[in-house]
Structure formats: structure tokens, C-alpha cells
């Protein structure tokens, strides 16, 4: 009984599985085909190039790690099939195309995994292989982009055919694989690689300023930490040199970037109802957030925390980042809910916690409910390695497909993406140009940094009043900004033009070489700090660390200033990122509340000791932009997905860039973007290092070729900063292109041809085959069969227009064929077999011919040569050719077939008649009577002379004898008969006379009619004038009896017209 129940249980369970499978199939896409076809052989491996960290170099090598060292959070990165890639690209284009049914039709993580992930079988193969290698599979991502696993170093080494070594770099201990890992060849169709086997983690992109406190009574600000490094700052303070420091509070930001009209509108556009996720690695002190909001007049918004892998606690390396993210995302969208999603980065881990946290947000968008995601970490493309870049790119792509707008810090390393911005002593670039690979993916909005440039107006004029700032803090908000403030590229180093001017140096190179000699550190600006930007050029890294690749330029990235480099350029947009400048130099910084490590608790509530933290970097501009996105999302009423396509088209629509030049633009403008036109992200570098330009012989330091701000887009600040009010207002106004697309119909066999859609947008148009018998390559269509072909023209966003699409269909007609029909006759008796003589049609090409018959306007009936047609009438016979070649057209031809109902009588001399209906006898045997001659009257009755010739018989058309024998009138040895137009029967008698029977009885006298030299008359006929004609076999003559009969229609004509025995 128990066993039975168990069996029953299992039997019940399987159908449920099967049913869920069929539901999956009904989504319109079949199950993803599996791609792992060969058995996994650990000895047949493929080396994954470019996955050795640049610092995993012999000079840092500390030897192999302990075999049992646990390694965690390793990611096996899966890759899509080319077909899936194409389909995903197409879908994502459609999601941004208002004319598409898929417009804003966002996927769920599960749908994404089902449609664009590896098949169940493939996942099982891969996880099975990991387990077979003694490794633990921790998680297969819902979107099926990565598989997280862990295990001891020895197993990792064995599985990936590499060694894990310890490295000591700049005093930091790391582990890393010493050579590129390998995976079994059989897995390569599905596995892109292992994201990392090292713990060189991305760094938060923040630049900490000074911790300051302000005397609320006097307003005096003094640094709390007068440490040896970093600038002093305040948010309205005159320092000892008499220069002013202007810090930026939330309301300052809202004033500068014109958020206030949104906040103040009815209803308020302040992010209400929107959720912004912050991906991080540390818990925060939420009291700091509360204090921040209270201090600067912000409402207390909703803040929640999600720790997918347990509470990471306060992590000293990340807590300040997470606090500034939360505080400033909330500061620009004060009505939004902020969700901090944090996952620790254990020392054993190989993947940064923020990345795992971001993956959690993207894999659980339905429960996290955040469709805006911000992260503020940086690691250059080269350092991430080939697979590391892939892991991030595919993750952000999944997020975008789910409608998530993702924002990331462009980086704080200026153009020197692989150098560190966290060293604030002499630290020239040694690694050349590179970009932050975490935000160089096309599926994330890279937010760069600007600095406020109000100082130029007052430079050298101590105590001068700035036109941009109020001299008193606004009550409740502490705001002092009066409006928009000119911006320059953020660069807090010796290469900054402002610094060059400030220090009265001849050039940046001179400035850097001069400042590099300072040893007190305070004013040593020969290091790396500035808004990052550049060209994605290192997504593929060779085993020797040589860069190649880079993300291809996305279709939407176009417009004035966008380099024609074919590559993804960053950043996309920038906001203020200043953290203040070294002591004595006027500048600005964001303020946050941060009571974490290294200082007094944030005590805004203590009126006698109000303490603030200055902070800057693209760490702040990214969440601030995420907050602005929440305003957009609130206004639009739903998720917008990747912001970039619209950002660039809004920029393209700004035709008067000069009016929006950030140096000269005035308040009350209609600009969406403030075009930053001055400043550079060039960084100091060491002579001889990559990309380092030294102009003055003997200089130890040069300038790393970077990028200057300029008109339109540039590689320092992207499109510039934003006027939030105008941005929100314009968001929905980006037009779709108006496209036209037609393709003339074709005939099968037509040569390949090019198609072209036209549009009022200049965006690149690509063509996709939607359905039908054709292939398309570029714009060239090759016909492969007959039917309807539907082709879509998709236009990339460009020149102020969104993406657009239009489909058109054309018909490929089969090659014309013909049917020739030359029937032997076009008439048929009802009930007779049609015969092959009629159904003789032949086709112009090989194929089968079928026939139908249609009576009048009736329904066609299929016929063959043996068919009979029962009803009389005119039939339309149709011969239809179905060619053997499917690309030949069916053709048909018709003829008319007249079907008549007719009886034929044959008269047998022995004294009987045989009646036929068409070719079929009416009765199987003859009917007695008659025997000589045959004539049919108007009633379709047969008249025939009885054998012997002395009487006349009449039959009806049913073969019944009506009159057996009419005698008299001289009928005697009659040899033939005819019927006149009155129905009278004329007989010729062998005694050379003529007898007439009219109305059933003899009309002639007993002698009959004689005369006319009749002699053995053989036959008689009546003409149209009523003359009776008799052939005389006895004397080779013809006798005409004048006008004695009624004129009669000639026999054949009468039969045809149904006028037998009638007058013409």
C-alpha cells in the first residue's frame, strides 16, 4: 500500500512537469536548443585568453596559495548563441521603438533566462562538470548569465588548469590565477569563461573631502580632520587665504540643475512612487540618512535594505560609498524609495559584492521593484579581463531588457582608467588610457563628473562676492546657490587648466612637474583624480595583457562631438562631482552625513556641533542622476529601460549648442543639456609610460593624452550636465521617425534585389526578415520561394529621432504556367462517361491536372474521364494544373461543355427498335415494332414503318410503343418516311406512291399520291418550302411534290434546336 502510494505520487508528478513544459512552449518561442553536443573531456580544453589580472605578475608573486584555501563567489559566465544574440538585439531595439508591439514590453528575469539563456540540459551539463571537479554550484542566475560557484583552491586549479598564487601589490595582498584558465572544449559553446579567479576588486569611485563642522551660531566652519591630505572645505566659508569654499547641499543641487520646479509642481515630481536600488557592499548607518535629510530640509523618504547573502555589516571600505549613494539618490528624488542592496565581498571571494548585489536586483526585479539601479564602482576594462567585461555587459544587458535604467560612475581616474584615484600623494599614471569597464557597457549610463566653475570670476579677488551664491544659508535647506553655475570637466589635479592658472604655471606639464616636487602632500596635485572618460578599447585582453576589442559603438551614440571611432564612448552624461580642492584653493564639494569610521558621529541634531562630510567623485553624480531618472520615470509613469537612446536624441535635438554652453548659459533657458566646453581629463603621467606625452625635455612627468571638453559630446563630460526640468519635460517629446517602406511584388526567380526604406531620420536602417520565403543580407533580399515576404526596416535612433521601424510585405508569385485544352468535342450526353477525349488538357510544365465541372453558377465538382454528368446544361469544365515544382503557379483553363439529354433510336429490319441514351442502351433488349426508316416528331416520338412496310408505328421516348400499326392511305410496302412541319408522316411506298399520316390517321386516299414518275422510291425528305422530295431508285430520278407538305426545319438543325417536326 505504501509502495503503491509512492508510485502513484510519482506518476502524478510527471504529468505536472510535462504540462509546465507545454505552457512554456506556448509563449511563442520554443525551448532553447541545447548547444553542448560533445561529451566533456577534461583533457580537451580551451584556454580562455585575457583572464589573467595585470597585477598577477612575477614581481608581485608570493607563491601558490594553500591548496585548501577556500575560494568563493566565482562566476562562470555563460554566453548566448548567435541566434539568441540576434533575437535579443532585435527585441531590445523593438523595446525602444514606439511603432513596435514590443515597445516597453519588458521581460521578466525568468523570461529572459528562458529565451536568452542556456537550455536546461546545457546548464545541467555545466553545473555537472563543476560538481565533477569538486566544486560547489552556489547559484545559477535567473537570467542564466552566470553560474556562481565555490571550492578549495586546489580544485579550482585542477578544474581550470591554472595555478592560484598570492600577490602583494602596493601593500595589498591579493590572490589571482597566474595564467589564463582553461575549460573543457565541449563547454565552450555555452561557457564564455570564468569571470575572475582573483580578488582585485573594483573600488568605490568617491573622492573624500574634509570632515568639517560649522558653528551654527557664528556660521564658522572648521575642519574636523585637519589631516595631512585632502582639501579643507565648507559650504560657505572663507578660508585663511580669503578664498571662499562653496559646498553643495541638496537644495543647491536642485537649484543648479533646475529640479525645484519639478519638486514644486502639482503633483510634485519628486520620485514619489519610484524605487531606486543602490548596489553596494556595506550596510549603512541609517541615522546618517535621517540626519542628512533633516539637516537639508528633505523629507524623510523610505529606505529599505536587502542583503541577499546576509548582512555584510559596516564595511569600512564601502560604507561611505553606500551612504553617499543613498543620501544623494534621495537628495535628487526626495519622494523615491531607496533600496540598498548590499552583499559583502569576503576576502575569499572572486566577485565584488556590488556586482552580486546588482545581479540580485536584476534577477529579482519583480520583488525588489526597483527599475532604476545605481552603482558607483570602478575597475578598468583591462583589469576586468575578457570574461570580467563579458560578465558585466551581459548582466547590464539583462537589466536593460527588463526595463531597468542602470547608472554607473564613469570613474574618478580621468583618462587613466587603470590607475588609482585613491592615492593622494605623488601618483602619476603608469598604465595609459583606459576606461572603467563597469560602466563602459552600452547597456549602462556612464555618469561622468563636472566641477562648478564659479571661482574664475573671483579668482585673484579675495573677498569678492560671487554672483552665483548667496552669502547666507537658506533657512531649513542651508542652500546658497542662486541658479545655474558654469561647469567645467572635473579635474582636481595639476593638469586642470584652473590649477595651471591658479599656480601661474606655464603649462599643465610644468604645473605637474612643479607640484610633484612638493613633499608636504597638501598641495601635491600630481596624482589621479578627475571625471573619467574615453573610448572602450579593451574588452578583450590577450594573455599578455594587450588590449583589443572595445564595445562597438551603439546605434544611438551619435551627434555633434561624438567621435567616429566605431567604439562605445564614455561618459554619457555628467553632473557635478567635486570634492573640494586642496587647502587654499576655492572650490566646491558635495556634502553628506557620514558618521562612520574615522570621525565624530554626524550630529546635525546637536546645534552646538553640526558636522558634515565633504565628498565628491562620480560616485555622487551617478546616484544623483539615478534620482533624476526617478523623476523621469514618475512623469512617464513606468520603467524606461536604458536611458541612453533618449538622452542622445534629446541632445541631437538641441540645435543651438552655443545657447547651452555651460560657461555662458543663463537661467531660464530651454536647454536639456548644459554643454561643458572647458576642462580636461588628461592626467599626469610618468615619462615613458604608455600614452605619456612629455613636451619639455628633462621633465620627469608628462601629461597622459586625455580628452578635453568641447562643443557637444566629448570624452570628458559626455553630453554635459542636465537641466532636470527641461529633461523631464522633453523626455516624452522625442519624435519617432516617419518611415516609408514598400517593396514591389516579385515573381519567383527574380534576381536578388536591394530594398530601401526612407525616413525623415538619418539613423542607420537595417533590414530584418520577419517572415516568408526569402533571405536578407544587408539590404539585399534573395527570394527562396513563393508566398508573402515580410521585411522590417529598423532605424536606429539618431539626430533627435527615436528608433523606428516599419514592416512591408510583398508577394512572390509563382512562375506563371498555362493549361492548354483542345477537347475532341465539347458536347456530352447526360449520364455518359466524360471520356479522355474531353479531359485532354495538358500543362506547360510538369504537374498534375485535375478537372472540375460546374453547372451554371453551381458548385464545382471534381471529375475524371469516367465521371458522368447527370444534369443537362452548359457546364464549365476547369482543368487545373498543379505543377510539380512548388514555385510554379497553379493555372487553370476552362471550356464549356454542353450536356444534353438525347435519345437515339436504331431501327432493326426484323421489326424492332433499340433505344440508346447517349452511348448506353435504354433497355437491354429491343422493343418490338417498326423496322423500316426512322423519324422523330416534335414530341420526341419515334415513327417507323413496321416490317413489311404496310403500317406505321409510333414510340415515345421511353421506348414505349404508342401506336402499333397505322394503316390505310395507300401505305404499301413503304420503304422510308419523313415528317413535315405539321407533324404529318410522309411515307414512300414501293408501289410508287406516297402516303401521308396526319394526326394519327391516314390522310391520303387508298391509292396514295402518285405521279412525278416515281419508281421504286427509296427515300423521302421534306424541304423548307413544303415540297416533298423522293429519290427513285428505279429510274435514277428525284420526284418533287410541290407544296404538299408543311415546311419543315432541316433535321440536324431541328435536333439541335429542339424543332423536329416543326415549321421553320
Amino acid at each position: 500500500m505504501k509502495n503503491f502510494q509512492k508510485a502513484f505520487c510519482c506518476a502524478f508528478f510527471f504529468p505536472v512537469l510535462a504540462m509546465s513544459g507545454s505552457v512554456f512552449a506556448q509563449t511563442g518561442r520554443g525551448p532553447v536548443p541545447s548547444r553542448i553536443v560533445n561529451s566533456v573531456d577534461n583533457d580537451r580544453v580551451t584556454r580562455l585568453e585575457g583572464n589573467t589580472h595585470p597585477f598577477a605578475r612575477p614581481e608581485f608573486d608570493q607563491g601558490m596559495v594553500a591548496a585548501q584555501m577556500p575560494m568563493t563567489h566565482m562566476l562562470l559566465v555563460l554566453q548566448r548563441s548567435p541566434e539568441q544574440e540576434t533575437a535579443l538585439d532585435q527585441l531590445m531595439a523593438q523595446q525602444m521603438d514606439r511603432s513596435s508591439a514590443n515597445y516597453h514590453h519588458w521581460l521578466t528575469p525568468t523570461q529572459f533566462g528562458q529565451q536568452f539563456g542556456a537550455s536546461d540540459a546545457d546548464v545541467t551539463q555545466v553545473t555537472g562538470w563543476l560538481q565533477s571537479q569538486g566544486l560547489t554550484v552556489d547559484k545559477v542566475s535567473t537570467g542564466r548569465v552566470t553560474i556562481e560557484f565555490s571550492g578549495p583552491a586546489s580544485q579550482v586549479q585542477a578544474a581550470f588548469h591554472t595555478e592560484i598564487h598570492n600577490y602583494l601589490v602596493n601593500g595589498e595582498a591579493h590572490f589571482a590565477n597566474a595564467s589564463d584558465p582553461s575549460i573543457p572544449e565541449a563547454l565552450t559553446p555555452v561557457v564564455a569563461g570564468v569571470a575572475s579567479l582573483n580578488n582585485f576588486f573594483p573600488k568605490p569611485q568617491l573622492r573624500e573631502g574634509r570632515r568639517v563642522h560649522r558653528d551654527p551660531r557664528t556660521g564658522a566652519i572648521t575642519p574636523v580632520d585637519d589631516g595631512a591630505t585632502g582639501p579643507d572645505a565648507d559650504f560657505t566659508r572663507t578660508n585663511s587665504s580669503g578664498y571662499t569654499i562653496q559646498d553643495v547641499t541638496p537644495y543647491d543641487f536642485a537649484t543648479i540643475y533646475n529640479l525645484l520646479p519639478l519638486w514644486n509642481s502639482t503633483p510634485a515630481i519628486n520620485g514619489a512612487g519610484q524605487t531606486i536600488a543602490i548596489a553596494g557592499e556595506s550596510a549603512i548607518n541609517t541615522a546618517d540618512v535621517t540626519a542628512f535629510q533633516a539637516a537639508f530640509g528633505l523629507p524623510s523618504n523610505t529606505l529599505t535594505s536587502i542583503y541577499p547573502n546576509g548582512n555584510p555589516g559596516i564595511d569600512k571600505n564601502n560604507v561611505e560609498e553606500q551612504e553617499l549613494d543613498v543620501e544623494w539618490a534621495g537628495a535628487t528624488a526626495p519622494g523615491a524609495t531607496i533600496v540598498l542592496v548590499a552583499e559583502a565581498t569576503p576576502s575569499s571571494g572572486s566577485t565584488a559584492g556590488f556586482q552580486l548585489a546588482a545581479q540580485y536586483v536584476i534577477d529579482n526585479v519583480e520583488t525588489v521593484k526597483a527599475t532604476i539601479l545605481s552603482e558607483s564602482y570602478g575597475n578598468c576594462e583591462q583589469s576586468l579581463g575578457t570574461t570580467g567585461n563579458q560578465a558585466l555587459n551581459t548582466l547590464w544587458q539583462q537589466g536593460a531588457a527588463e526595463g531597468i535604467s542602470i547608472f554607473g560612475s564613469a570613474g574618478d581616474e580621468g583618462s587613466a582608467g587603470c590607475d588609482s584615484s585613491s592615492v593622494h600623494s605623488l601618483n602619476p599614471s603608469t598604465k595609459g588610457l583606459n576606461v572603467n569597464g563597469i560602466s563602459s557597457s552600452p547597456y549602462i549610463t556612464a555618469v561622468g563628473g563636472t566641477d562648478l566653475n564659479w571661482q574664475t570670476a573671483t579668482l585673484g579677488s579675495a573677498g569678492a562676492t560671487s554672483p552665483y551664491w548667496s552669502t547666507t544659508n537658506a533657512s531649513g535647506t542651508q542652500a546658497t546657490a542662486l541658479g545655474y553655475i558654469p561647469e567645467v570637466a572635473w579635474n582636481a589635479t595639476c593638469t586642470d587648466p584652473y590649477m595651471v592658472t591658479f599656480f601661474s604655471a606655464a603649462s599643465a606639464e610644468a604645473n605637474c612637474n612643479s607640484l610633484a616636487k612638493m613633499t608636504n602632500g597638501l598641495s601635491n596635485l600630481a596624482y589621479i583624480t578627475g571625471g573619467s572618460g574615453g573610448v572602450s578599447a579593451c574588452t578583450t585582453v590577450s594573455s599578455r595583457g594587450v588590449c583589443s576589442g572595445g564595445y562597438a559603438k551603439p546605434s544611438w551614440q551619435s551627434g555633434t562631438g561624438v567621435p567616429a571611432d566605431g567604439k562605445r564612448d564614455v561618459p554619457d552624461v555628467s553632473l557635478f562631482a567635486g570634492s573640494g580642492l586642496p587647502d587654499g584653493i576655492p572650490g566646491s564639494s558635495y556634502l553628506i552625513c557620514f558618521s562612520g569610521t574615522g570621525g565624530a558621529p554626524c550630529t546635525y541634531s546637536n546645534s552646538s556641533d553640526v558636522t558634515f562630510q565633504e565628498v565628491g567623485g562620480t560616485s555622487v553624480s551617478a546616484p544623483a542622476m539615478a534620482g533624476i531618472m526617478a523623476l523621469i520615470q514618475q512623469k512617464m509613469g513606468g520603467p524606461q529601460g536604458l536611458a541612453n537612446p533618449i538622452l542622445y536624441q534629446l541632445a541631437a535635438a538641441e540645435t543651438n549648442l552655443a545657447a547651452c554652453n555651460s560657461s555662458t548659459v543663463t537661467n531660464g533657458n530651454s536647454c536639456v543639456f548644459y554643454d561643458t566646453t572647458s576642462g580636461t581629463n588628461a592626467m599626469v603621467c610618468t615619462s615613458g609610460d604608455p600614452n605619456c606625452t612629455v613636451n619639455t625635455a628633462g621633465d620627469k612627468y608628462g601629461v597622459l593624452s586625455g580628452y578635453s571638453a568641447g562643443t557637444g559630446y566629448d570624452l570628458t563630460t559626455g553630453l554635459g550636465s542636465v537641466n532636470a526640468f527641461n529633461l523631464v519635460k522633453a523626455w516624452s517629446a522625442v519624435p519617432s521617425p516617419t518611415m516609408t517602406f514598400t517593396i514591389p511584388n516579385k515573381t519567383y526567380g527574380a534576381a536578388p534585389f536591394t530594398v530601401a526604406a526612407s525616413s525623415n531620420s538619418t539613423g542607420t536602417i537595417t533590414y530584418n526578415l520577419i517572415s516568408g520565403p526569402a533571405t536578407i543580407s544587408g539590404a539585399t533580399v534573395t527570394i527562396t520561394g513563393t508566398g508573402t515576404v515580410t521585411i522590417e526596416a529598423f532605424q536606429a535612433p539618431s539626430g533627435g529621432f527615436l528608433a523606428g521601424s516599419i514592416t512591408t510585405s510583398f508577394t512572390v508569385s509563382p512562375v506563371a504556367t498555362s493549361v492548354t485544352w483542345s477537347p475532341s468535342t465539347t458536347t456530352l450526353f447526360a449520364g455518359n462517361a466524360i471520356g479522355t477525349g474531353i479531359l485532354d488538357a495538358s500543362g506547360s510544365v510538369a504537374g498534375t491536372i485535375a478537372y472540375t465541372a460546374t453547372l451554371g453558377s453551381g458548385t464545382p465538382t471534381t471529375i475524371t474521364s469516367t465521371s458522368t454528368l447527370a444534369q443537362v446544361g452548359v457546364y464549365t469544365l476547369t482543368a487545373t494544373l498543379t505543377p510539380t515544382n512548388i514555385n510554379d503557379a497553379t493555372s487553370s483553363t476552362t471550356i464549356n461543355l454542353t450536356v444534353t439529354s438525347a435519345y437515339i433510336w436504331a431501327v432493326n429490319p426484323a421489326g424492332s427498335i433499340s433505344e440508346f441514351y447517349g452511348n448506353s442502351p435504354v433497355t437491354s433488349s429491343a422493343v418490338s415494332g417498326g423496322g423500316i426508316g426512322a423519324a422523330v416528331d416534335n414530341g420526341n416520338n419515334l415513327w417507323t414503318i413496321n416490317a413489311g412496310g404496310n403500317s406505321l408505328a409510333e414510340f415515345n421516348s421511353s421506348n414505349a410503343l404508342i401506336k402499333a400499326g397505322i394503316t390505310g392511305g395507300g401505305i404499301s410496302g413503304a420503304t422510308n418516311l419523313a415528317i413535315d412541319g405539321s407533324g404529318a408522316i410522309w411515307l414512300v411506298n414501293s408501289n410508287n406512291s406516297v402516303s401521308v399520316v396526319s394526326n394519327g390517321s391516314a390522310f391520303t386516299p387508298s391509292t396514295g399520291y402518285t405521279g412525278g414518275n416515281m419508281s421504286s422510291p427509296s427515300a423521302v425528305a421534306i424541304d423548307i418550302s413544303g415540297n416533298v422530295w423522293i429519290s427513285n431508285s428505279g429510274n435514277n430520278s428525284v420526284t418533287e411534290i410541290l407544296g404538299a407538305a408543311a415546311p419543315v426545319v432541316p433535321t440536324a438543325t431541328a435536333v439541335k434546336n429542339g424543332t423536329l417536326g416543326a415549321r421553320p
Binding site: 477525349g837 437515339i904 432493326n908 442502351p921 406512291s993 416515281m1014 422530295w1029 407544296g1043 426545319v1049
Partner: protein, 443 residues
């Protein structure tokens, strides 16, 4: 007295014949087509003789035949009264209009057939002559007498109900046109004598019978009404022997019509009306005929042991000659167009049957188990074999135009398309008790 008078009239008629000689217009064409246009009548002149005597004071009528039905009322064309002079002459000088193409005939009624009394009149008198189409009668001298009357009435009999009602159907103008043409086979209208100008060589006209009927009519025509009114006793006698279903006639044309349509009527009584010696037209029968039908015998054109005969829509007559492997074609007036040996194209061989198809072309069954299909002019269209032909004995053509043949040799039927393709197999159609069939017909 009466007999004497008739002789005088005969003499006068002879004189008139001479007078007409040289006028050249002695035949009437009948080949014009019917039309609706009206043309002014050309002058017509001639004489009216009854019993070979001039009829004076006869009233002339010119009629166009009707095409609205058999025996429908004719259209009277004269616009004024025309009567004959004392010499029986009349002249119609354009006193009529004539529909172009219409077939016209002339009738004389009433009048004095040569008695002493100038006021005497024969109200039963009616004689006629069929003329032909309006366009063909210009300058024609017309001699109306009993012979023209008999020739006209017997030829036009199927189309006549009275002298003022001669008509055909709209679809059979050819039939009445041919009938008008036949008049010219019998009588020469310009002279009032037999034979007609178109009678083919070798044809035999029943002149004695025609004379007899003319004489019978003359018994009435040559009398006048009784004093105080009423038909003469001769007329009353004639009319009493020539009734039709509507009663006795009241004029001599009607009497003739009735005889032509009831050819066995009063054979003896009527014959007895005439005196063999005194009859104006001679020779005449002295004993009754078997009927009043008039039959012409034609020869030539290759006729040889003819076995089958058929007519076509033009009125031509086709004959299959078993004796000389040929086909004879006679026109509606019996004129052969098939030469002296008949048509022989297409291996015609001991033909047994002939049928004319709806297109007017003949099909001939040959004893050689073949069919010959000729054109209307006797050239070969196709020579057909197969289909089970075996001693073919009869041909019929069905409404599809298919050719059906009865095979006396093997008791089968054969069927061919109008193009000559066999529809029946080589065994033909069998069954139905076929037993050496000799004839075939289709409905």
C-alpha cells in the same frame, strides 16, 4: 356559246404571246432578300385572261407577302384602283410603293370574262401570278391566267390561306422565296404558258394535270354572276367540290388553295366539270387523277440508284447514289450542281445514307465502313474511319453535332465528333437489342 367564246379567247392568247415576244422579260427572279426600305413601284403592265379570253374590268391587286406568320395577311400595295381594259390589259404606273426585297404577287378579281353584256361581272373570279421581289419585276409583262394561278397556288400552298393572305414565318423567308422560284419551273409568267423558264433540262412537268386543274378553275372563271346576283352555277358547282374546314370558297383562288391543301378532294366530281373537248387548256385528263398533287420529276446530276435523300437549310436536296458511288446535289428548283456524275470526293462508295449537319454539310455513309464528310460544294472535308463502323446503314446528327451511325453489319452504333473523331471504340456501342439496324434517328 360558251365553248365558242373559249376558242376565241385561245386565239387571242396566242396573239398576245407573240406580242410579248421580244420584250425579253419573261422570267421572275426570286433571289432578292427581304428588306424594310420602301421603293416607288416600277410600272407594271400585262393582261388578265380567263379561259383564254380577256377579262375586262377586273380589279388588280398587288400584294407583298407577310413575314409575320404562315398564311398571315399580305400587304396590299396599290394606292389606286386599277382595272383591266376591254382587251384584258392593265397598267400599273407607279401607283404603289414596294418594300425593298419583299416578295410580291399580283391578283386579279372580279371582271367580265368576255360576255356580251358590258356590265356582266364574275364576282367569283380570282387569278394570280407570283412575281418575286420588288426589285426584280421592273418592266415585266405579266400574263395572268389559270396556269399562273395554279402554278402560284400549288407552289405557295403551304404559305397561303387566301389570295390576300400569303405569309411565312420571320425565320423562313428562304422557304417562301424558294417557293416563288418554283413557280418559274412550272409556268412562264410573261406568257402564261408552261413550262417555266427555269425548269431543268430533263425534268418532267405534270402539264396534263396542271391543264386539268386550270380547266376546272376556268369552268367558273369563264362565267358571270347570275342576273340579280349570286355566283354562276358553274362557280357554285366548283365551290361545292372544293370546301375546306371553314366552308366553301367564294373565289377561284380559294378553291385552288383548298384543292392544293386537300389533294384528294372530289377527284371525280371535279374532273367531270370539264369537257375534254371544250376545255381551254389541253391536253387535259379525261379521268380523275389519284390526287391533285403536282409532282415534278428531275433527273441528271449523277442520280443513280439513289438510296437516301436529305434537304438542307437553303432548300437544297442531297441524294446518295448507291449506283455510281456519288452524291447528287439539286437546288431548291431541282437544278443539279453536282455535275453529270455527282460528287465523288472522299471515296464515296455505294453510299447507303446521307445526313446534312447543322452547318449544311453532308455526311455520307459508305458501304466500305467509312464516312465521307463533304463541304456544301461537294469537296472533301474529312474521310472518317473507325469507331466500329460496319456496314453503316443510317446517319443521324445529334444536338451536339455528333454523328451517329447505325451499323447493319454488326448490330452496333458508332459515334463521331463533328470533327470526325471517333467517340465510340472500334467495337461501337452495343446492347439494347440492336439487330442489324437499318435506320437511325435522334431526338
Amino acid at each position: 356559246m360558251i365553248l365558242f367564246s373559249r376558242q376565241r379567247m385561245a386565239l387571242a392568247a396566242t396573239a398576245l404571246t407573240f406580242a410579248l415576244t421580244g420584250c425579253g422579260a419573261n422570267m421572275i427572279s426570286s433571289s432578292a432578300t427581304q428588306g424594310s426600305a420602301i421603293s416607288a413601284g416600277v410600272p407594271l403592265e400585262g393582261t388578265v385572261f380567263g379561259g383564254q379570253q380577256p377579262v375586262s374590268n377586273a380589279t388588280m391587286h398587288l400584294y407583298a407577302v407577310s413575314t409575320s406568320g404562315y398564311g398571315a395577311a399580305s400587304t396590299s400595295l396599290l394606292t389606286k384602283t386599277v382595272t383591266t381594259t376591254s382587251t384584258g390589259s392593265f397598267s400599273i404606273a407607279g401607283d404603289y410603293t414596294c418594300p425593298t426585297g419583299a416578295l410580291v404577287y399580283i391578283v386579279a378579281t372580279q371582271g367580265n370574262p368576255g360576255t356580251a353584256s358590258a356590265t356582266a361581272n364574275n364576282s367569283a373570279l380570282a387569278m394570280m401570278a407570283g412575281l418575286g421581289t420588288c426589285s426584280s419585276i421592273a418592266g415585266t409583262k405579266i400574263s395572268i391566267n389559270e396556269l399562273t394561278t395554279v402554278a402560284s397556288v400549288w407552289a405557295l400552298s403551304p404559305f397561303m390561306t387566301s389570295y390576300s393572305a400569303v405569309g411565312t414565318s420571320a425565320t423562313n423567308v428562304q422557304g417562301i422565296t424558294n417557293a416563288f422560284a418554283t413557280i418559274n419551273n412550272i409556268v412562264t409568267v410573261s406568257t402564261g404558258t408552261m413550262p417555266g423558264p427555269t425548269l431543268p433540262t430533263g425534268a418532267t412537268l405534270p402539264t396534263t394535270l396542271i391543264n386539268t386543274i386550270a380547266d376546272i378553275l376556268a369552268t367558273c372563271i369563264n362565267t358571270v354572276d347570275q342576273t340579280g346576283g349570286g355566283f354562276s352555277s358553274d362557280c357554285s358547282s366548283l365551290f361545292s367540290y372544293t370546301p375546306n374546314t371553314k366552308g366553301t370558297p367564294t373565289d377561284t383562288i380559294q378553291a385552288a388553295i383548298n384543292l392544293s391543301q386537300n389533294p384528294a378532294e372530289s377527284l371525280t366530281s371535279l374532273t367531270q366539270l370539264i369537257s375534254a373537248i371544250g376545255a381551254p387548256y389541253q391536253p387535259a385528263l379525261s379521268s380523275p387523277p389519284t390526287s391533285w398533287t403536282l409532282a415534278i420529276n428531275y433527273v441528271g446530276g449523277g442520280l443513280s440508284n439513289p438510296k437516301a435523300i436529305a434537304t438542307d437549310a437553303s432548300g437544297n436536296v442531297w441524294v446518295a447514289n448507291n449506283g455510281n458511288n456519288s452524291v447528287t446535289k439539286l437546288s431548291d428548283i431541282g437544278a443539279a450542281s453536282s455535275g453529270t456524275n455527282g460528287f465523288t470526293a472522299g471515296n464515296i462508295s455505294a453510299p447507303t445514307a446521307i445526313a446534312i449537319d447543322a452547318a449544311g454539310t453532308p455526311w455520307i455513309a459508305n458501304s466500305t465502313n467509312t464516312l465521307t464528310h463533304l463541304t456544301a460544294t461537294g469537296t472533301l472535308t474529312s474521310f472518317v474511319t473507325g469507331g466500329g463502323l460496319n456496314a453503316p446503314s443510317g446517319i443521324a446528327i445529334d444536338s451536339n453535332g455528333d454523328i451517329w451511325v447505325s451499323n447493319a453489319g454488326n448490330s452496333t452504333l458508332s459515334e463521331f465528333t463533328s470533327g470526325g473523331t471517333a467517340l465510340s471504340t472500334t467495337t461501337g456501342y452495343t446492347g439494347g437489342g440492336l439487330n442489324l439496324p437499318k435506320a437511325i434517328a435522334v431526338e
